[in-house]
C-alpha cells in the first residue's frame, strides 16, 4: 500500500532540501587561520576600536583559554580545531559608506536570498542590516528610523558613533566569561547589529538582520545588542543561511537584550543555516548565547524561534526577569532530520515579584535527527507570586530518530505557581489516514499535521516571517515519509 518514491522524486527532495546553498564569488580579505592574542588585536585594529574594547576582548580571550568546551548537551560532533578556523573574513575593498557603494555581487546575493537591500525593492515596513561573513554590508531605511530617534546600525558603527551606549551595555546581560562560546565570541566578534529605541518610542518598522556565511572554513561570530528604553517597543527579526559545503563551519553568536520599564522587545529568528547533507556531512555548528534582561518593571521580552537549519544547534534564548511584573516568553519550533542534532530551550529566571513566563516548545524529529528540549525555570526566594507555564511537545517521524525533554525546575518561593507539561508521540496514524482519505498525499498530510502541531508558535511570528517559516517547514519535511 505504501508508495515507493522513484529516484527522480528522491533527487528532487534532496536538491530542494536546501535552496540557499550557493556560493558568492567575491574576493575575500581574511586573516590567517587560527586564534591568538595577535588575531584578537588584529580584529580590533582593523575596526579601529578604542582601547577599552581591545582590553575587553583580550580579557575574554584569556578567560576562554582557561575554559573547557561544554560537554553536557546531548549533541555529538568531532573535536573542533579552533586553530583551523578563519576568525575574520570580509569582502575586499574599503567599507561602503552607503548602500550605493556596496559591491553589486553582494547586493545580488541578498536579492537572491529574498532580502533585497535597495529600499525601492525592500519589503515595506522592514529595515534590514545585512551581515556577510564578518562584516555588515549595509543597513536599509536608516534615515527613516533616525527620524523616530531609533538607532539601527552595524555593531562596528555603533562602537564609533555611540561608544557610551555600547560600553554601558556590552556584556551587561551575557558577561564575557559566561560560557565557553560566549567567551570565544567576546574575544573575536567581528560585527553584528546594534539597536537603540529611545524612551516612549514605538519603532516604526520591523528591524531585521540577515546573516550570511559565505567564505570557506570561516567562522561567524556576530554580536547583537538591543536596548529598549522605558516605554518603548521593538520587533526584531533575524534570518540566517550559508552555502552548502562539505566542511563544518562554526557560528558562535551572542545576543543581548535589555528592556527597561514598560518596554517590550520581540525577537524572532528563522534559523536556516546549512544543515548538512542526507549523510550528515557538512553543516553549521550553531553555538549561540541569547539572553534578555527585563530590567524594568512591567517590561517584556519575547523570543520566537524556528530552527530548521544547522547540523548542530546549541542555544537557549533566556530571560532574566528582574523588574516586578515583567514577562518572559519563549516560543520554539525545532525540526531535525537526516543527521541534525538540536539541543535547545530556554532559561526563565524569576527574580522580581509577580514575574510571569511562558514556554512553548515544539520539537519534530525525523530521519536520524535528535532533538532535545533543555530548559530551566528558576524561581528565586523573593519572586512572590511568580508564574510559569511550560509546554514541550515532541513529534517523532520514523524509528531512527530521538526526542528528549530535560526541564529543570527550581522553586524557592511558596507563592509561585509552576506548571510543566510534556508529551512525546509519533505522528498520529488516525490523523494521517483521515487526511489521506480526503485525498491528501502522505507527504502533504504530514506537512499539514506538523504545521498544525506548530501553530501556537507560528502565530507568534510577524506575518512576513510566518509565511517563510511555513514554507521552510514544508520543505524540511519533504522526504521524511514514504
Amino acid at each position: 500500500m505504501e508508495k515507493t518514491p522513484d529516484n527522480a522524486f528522491v533527487e528532487s527532495v534532496v536538491r530542494k532540501g536546501y535552496e540557499h546553498g550557493f556560493v558568492t564569488n567575491v574576493e575575500s580579505d581574511a586573516f590567517p587561520q587560527g586564534i591568538s592574542e595577535d588575531i584578537v588585536r588584529a580584529i580590533s585594529a582593523r575596526k579601529a576600536e578604542p582601547e577599552w574594547l581591545l582590553d575587553w576582548r583580550l580579557k575574554a580571550f584569556r578567560t576562554w583559554q582557561k575554559m573547557a568546551e561544554p560537554a553536557w548537551a546531548k549533541v555529538g560532533y568531532p573535536t573542533i580545531d579552533y586553530d583551523a578556523i578563519y576568525y575574520y573574513a570580509a569582502p575586499k575593498g574599503p567599507a561602503p559608506k552607503s548602500l550605493d557603494e556596496v559591491d553589486p555581487e553582494l547586493l545580488a546575493t541578498f536579492e537572491k536570498l529574498g532580502v533585497p537591500l535597495h529600499e525601492r525593492a525592500a519589503l515595506a515596513g522592514v529595515a534590514v542590516d545585512a551581515v556577510f561573513d564578518s562584516v555588515s554590508v549595509g543597513t536599509t531605511f536608516k534615515d527613516r528610523l533616525a527620524e523616530a530617534g531609533v538607532i539601527f546600525c552595524s555593531f562596528s558603527e555603533a562602537v564609533h558613533n555611540h561608544p557610551d551606549l555600547v560600553r554601558k551595555y556590552l556584556g551587561s546581560v551575557v558577561p564575557r566569561g559566561d560560557n565557553y562560546f560566549a567567551a570565544l565570541n567576546s574575544a573575536v566578534f567581528s560585527d553584528g547589529s546594534f539597536v537603540f529605541i529611545p524612551e516612549g518610542t514605538r519603532c516604526p518598522m520591523e528591524l531585521s538582520t540577515y546573516f550570511r556565511i559565505n567564505a570557506k572554513n570561516s567562522g561567524q561570530f556576530e554580536r547583537t545588542l538591543i536596548i529598549a528604553e522605558r516605554g518603548s517597543h521593538v520587533s526584531y527579526l533575524e534570518g540566517c543561511t550559508a552555502p552548502q559545503r562539505d566542511e563544518n563551519q562554526l557560528h558562535a553568536a551572542v545576543v543581548e537584550l535589555v528592556a527597561h520599564e514598560d518596554a517590550e522587545i520581540k525577537y524572532s529568528t528563522v534559523q536556516n543555516w546549512y544543515p548538512g547533507d542526507e549523510h550528515g556531512k557538512g553543516g553549521i555548528y550553531n553555538f549561540v548565547t541569547k539572553r534578555g534582561k527585563c530590567a524594568g518593571a512591567r517590561s517584556k521580552i519575547s523570543w520566537t524561534q524556528v530552527e530548521t537549519g544547522s547540523s548542530i544547534t546549541w542555544k537557549y534564548p533566556s530571560c532574566v526577569l528582574i523588574g516586578d511584573d515583567s514577562v518572559g516568553e519563549f516560543y520554539s519550533i525545532a525540526l531535525t532530520r537526516n543527521y541534525q542534532q538540536a539541543d535547545t530551550g530556554t532559561k526563565m529566571v524569576h527574580i522580581g515579584k509577580r514575574t510571569r513566563s511562558t514556554i512553548i516548545s515544539k520539537g519534530i524529529s525525523a530521519g536520524h535527527g535528535q532533538n532535545t528540549y533543555r530548559g530551566l525555570v528558576e524561581i528565586h526566594a523573593g519572586a512572590d507570586g511568580a508564574r510559569n507555564y511550560s509546554e514541550c511537545d515532541s513529534l517523532l517521524i520514523g524509528s531512527q530518530c530521538g526526542a528528549h525533554t530535560f526541564p529543570y525546575i527550581t522553586c524557592g518561593n511558596d507563592s509561585a505557581q509552576i506548571e510543566h507539561e510534556a508529551t512525546t508521540s509519533k505522528i498520529s496514524e488516525d490523523q494521517l489516514f483521515y487526511c489521506r482519505q480526503r485525498g491528501l498525499s502522505e507527504e502533504d498530510a504530514v506537512s499539514l499535521i506538523v504545521t498544525g502541531f506548530c501553530k501556537e508558535v507560528l502565530r507568534e511570528l510577524p506575518m512576513e516571517f510566518a509565511v517563510e517559516a511555513n514554507k521552510l517547514l514544508a520543505v524540511s519535511l519533504e522526504g521524511t515519509v514514504g
Binding site: 500500500m1 505504501e2 508508495k3 498520529s428 496514524e429 488516525d430 490523523q431 489516514f433 483521515y434 487526511c435 489521506r436 482519505q437 480526503r438 485525498g439 491528501l440 498525499s441 502522505e442 502533504d444 498530510a445 499539514l448 499535521i449 504545521t451 498544525g452 502541531f453 506548530c454 501553530k455 501556537e456
Partner: protein, 250 residues
C-alpha cells in the same frame, strides 16, 4: 460501481474479521449494512478506504473496474471513494477551511480539474455548509477540535458534498446524534443522492433508515453477509433483533 468478492480480512497479527464477504452495489443505489457489534462493519469500511493495519488474505474489490485494494488511501479518494468516519479525527492547529481547501484541490487536481482559488472555494464551502447547517464559525475552527458529536458528523457530510465522490461509505454516521442532528445529517445525505453516486450506509440501528431510505439492506454477521432484503428488512431487524437472523440462517 463496486464489486466485492469473497473478501477475507484479518487484523495485523490478529483474528480474521471478514470471512468471505460478497457485496455488489450498482451505480445510484443506497445500500445499508446492519449488524451487531463486532460483526466487521467498521473493518469493511476501513478496508475499502485503505487504512493500514488490516491484511486482506483473499478476495477482490473492484471499483469501476479498477483493483481498489492496490491503491493508496489518497488514490482511492481521488478515484471517488469517500469514508465518513464513526469517530472523525481531530487535527489541532489546522483550520477546517484550510483543511477542506487542501483536500478539495488535491482531489480536483488528481481528477484533472483546475484547483479552486480562495474566493471560488469559499463560495463552494459556504454553499455546502448551508446544506448541513454548519455556521461559518465552525469552518474557521480547527478540524473537529471542540466540535460536538453532531457537529463532527455534519462536518463529515460537508466534506462529502465538497469532495464529490462516486461512492460514499458512511460508518455509523447516526451514532451519538440526537433526533434533530440526525434529521439534519439525513437531509444532507439525501441532498447528495443521485444517479451517479452510490452509498453504503453502515448502521447499528434502523432509525437513520427512516430518513435515508435504502434500496437494499444487508445483514453482516460473523464476517459475512447473512441476509439481504429490501427496506422492510431493517424494520424487521429492529422489531426482532439480530438473533432472529442467526436462527433462520442456522
Amino acid at each position: 460501481m463496486i464489486e466485492i468478492k469473497n473478501l477475507h480480512v484479518r487484523t495485523e497479527g490478529g483474528a480474521e474479521i471478514l470471512k468471505g464477504l460478497d457485496l455488489h452495489i450498482p451505480a445510484g443505489q443506497v445500500h445499508a449494512i446492519m449488524g451487531p457489534n463486532g460483526s466487521g462493519k467498521s473493518t469493511l469500511s476501513y478496508v475499502l478506504a485503505g487504512r493500514d493495519g488490516y491484511e486482506v488474505t483473499a478476495g477482490s474489490v473492484l471499483f469501476k473496474g479498477q483493483d481498489l485494494l492496490a491503491m493508496a488511501p489518497e488514490e482511492r479518494a481521488h478515484a471517488g471513494i469517500f469514508l465518513g468516519l464513526q469517530y472523525p479525527v481531530e487535527i489541532p492547529g489546522v483550520s477546517n477551511a484550510y483543511f477542506l481547501r487542501t483536500a478539495v484541490n488535491a482531489v480536483r487536481v488528481a481528477r484533472g480539474q483546475p484547483a479552486l482559488d480562495a474566493v471560488a472555494f469559499m463560495a463552494e464551502m459556504r454553499r455546502a455548509a448551508k446544506v448541513v447547517e454548519l455556521s461559518t464559525e465552525m469552518l474557521k475552527r480547527d478540524v473537529n477540535v471542540g466540535f460536538s458529536g453532531g457537529e463532527k458528523k455534519r462536518n463529515e457530510i460537508l466534506q462529502l458534498g465538497l469532495l464529490d465522490p462516486e461512492f460514499a461509505i458512511l460508518d455509523e454516521t447516526d451514532s451519538g446524534l440526537d433526533i434533530d442532528a440526525l434529521s439534519v445529517v439525513a437531509r444532507g445525505i439525501n441532498a447528495h443522492r443521485g444517479p451517479g453516486r452510490s452509498f453504503l450506509v453502515i448502521t447499528h440501528y434502523q432509525r437513520l433508515l427512516d430518513h435515508v431510505r435504502p434500496d437494499v439492506v444487508h445483514v453482516l454477521q460473523g464476517g459475512r453477509i447473512v441476509k439481504t432484503g429490501g427496506p422492510e428488512l431493517a424494520l424487521e431487524l429492529e422489531a426482532r433483533g439480530y438473533g432472529w437472523v442467526t436462527e433462520q440462517g442456522a
